[in-house]
Assembly symmetry: C3
Homo-oligomer: 221 residues x 3
């Protein structure tokens, strides 16, 4: 489901569940891993990465379809995952080895930085083409984390961004060939791992206070 | 005054009143047209365009000068126009065939996308040079819709942006020669017309909630 | 400590106290100068500039260390300085002749525009590397005044921006060689000096209302 390794000061959390959709089991595994990582003392940084063609495709729509009575509870748990990453007391880097769609794209946005694979894979918020909209927490995350023009285009057109397009749009900060995505993310994370975790968490929480308030608030408007 | 045509799935609303200033008659005609367009069922998108040298020069200062007792009521109606476009249940594109000044520039910003003519015409918010300031709704529209640096420069310097400058500043998304502005806008609109109107309206309203709240609130601070 | 001259319509306020840290004496001198400038009637604009290698290094940490009981009162006074510049009834330009660090960088952000020296000096918000965070007023100033991606990177990484990097990141609007920084800033200021001061102040205060509210509110969260 997941795999957590340490490479020097850098924790590498690999999602290893196909499309890496947020099934309850997947969420439980990632929550547990992040809770452990958050206890880190001293230098540290987190890299998350997927497997194969997928970083993450977000919400587990199959599970949701079979558990519609748990929709709000489920969304609260997804919000909790986003908040956990945003509140992690260390620098964070998403290594986008493949598709980051919908909730998977939003999870990537919760990281401080992102490195994206050049030859394959898209960043995409396709909700507008699925007849879906965004929860208050998701809406604020996208709006506060992305350049205005990018947030506007991403949610209103459902554009699929290649790595080069995502770099120009300010969605990711670096691009790399398939084999270099994880090493580049780890290198970036290692360069930031010396920063005081508590200070990073405080500055990040202040910067994204409205997002965190919404993520910790009601899941639906 | 105005002309409303349909080109495939795309409604083309042409303002045809010279400078296309927001006279009560102009507002009434546009309100009626938009109310009709909003009832569209199925695929649809809106393009607005002006005539000759002008997209729109905004507030009708002559009429306002002769009707100063109706200032606040008039501003509420202009706010209502902006909100109507921002809430339209379909993708929207402004075809900037010519000058988009002051309120005319803000009306352009209410659209999802804009295509601007390259050889002639400016986007300009000249209020700072007219001794005017912005209503709370206008201020938030400019601030939330434009990249930060562009909003700052536009309102504090009153800069006149050519099409190329407006593209670089994130005010418009495409530029075209005079004859190509409307076709390019229609082509863009047509490519988006298949999206579900209710979904577009919900996502857009969530994204611009503070703007819409201000536009629906008191016209003056 | 400081020197205030007038060059045509442009007030040139030079900080002349080494690193130009915000000692109580420095603050008193600048407050007095700005109070005088604010009384200007007719065309006017302000340029601020430092001396030698420094624009300003911000908070006077030595003085603070010896006066820890006055921490909150001191921060309120620094907030007051930021608000004074943001509320000045005329266009303002920071001539970054050298380092603009921490509070000195934030002071630069309070100006409408900035010109930065190319061969030497950095813009840097190093708080994350000092175990410090930002007050609510400082946090909002950085967040509302800079492009989103720049605010994010600046506070979470403590990156030192050269003039060229600061230009690309939207922190400054022009760059110039050492001898040309002040002349370029004065030229820019002079080109804007004809704008009505009251109008400029109103538009700017509306645009940065949340920042000003925070700067005038409690210094600590």
């Amino acid at each position: 489901m997941i795999d957590l390794q340490r490479d020097g000061d850098v924790y590498v959390l690999r999602y290893d569940a196909g499309e890496n959709r947020f099934s309850p089991d997947f969420l439980g595994a990632v929550e547990g891993a992040l809770d452990g990582v958050a206890k880190n003392d001293g230098p540290g940084a987190l890299v998350t990465v997927g497997t194969g063609k997928f970083y993450s495709n977000g919400l587990d729509l199959d599970w949701l379809g079979a558990n519609q009575d748990k929709f709000e509870e489920y969304l609260r748990r997804v919000h909790g995952l986003f908040a956990r990453v945003l509140e992690l007391p260390m620098p964070t880097v998403a290594a986008l080895n493949g598709h980051a769609f919908a909730g998977g794209g939003m999870l990537a946005l919760c990281h401080d930085h992102a490195v994206m694979r050049t030859d394959r894979g898209y960043f995409c918020l396709p909700e507008v083409d699925l007849g879906m909209s965004f929860t208050p927490g998701m809406n604020l995350l996208i709006k506060e984390r992305l350049p205005r023009a990018t947030a506007h285009e991403a949610v209103l057109t459902g554009r699929r961004y290649t790595a080069e397009q995502a770099l120009r749009a300010g969605i990711v900060q670096r691009t790399a060939a398939e084999d270099e995505v994880l090493p580049a993310a780890v290198e970036l994370a290692a360069s930031l791992a010396g920063k005081n975790g508590g200070t990073v968490a405080k500055i990040r929480a202040d910067l994204y206070r409205p997002v965190l308030d919404a993520l910790h608030g009601p899941a639906l408007s």
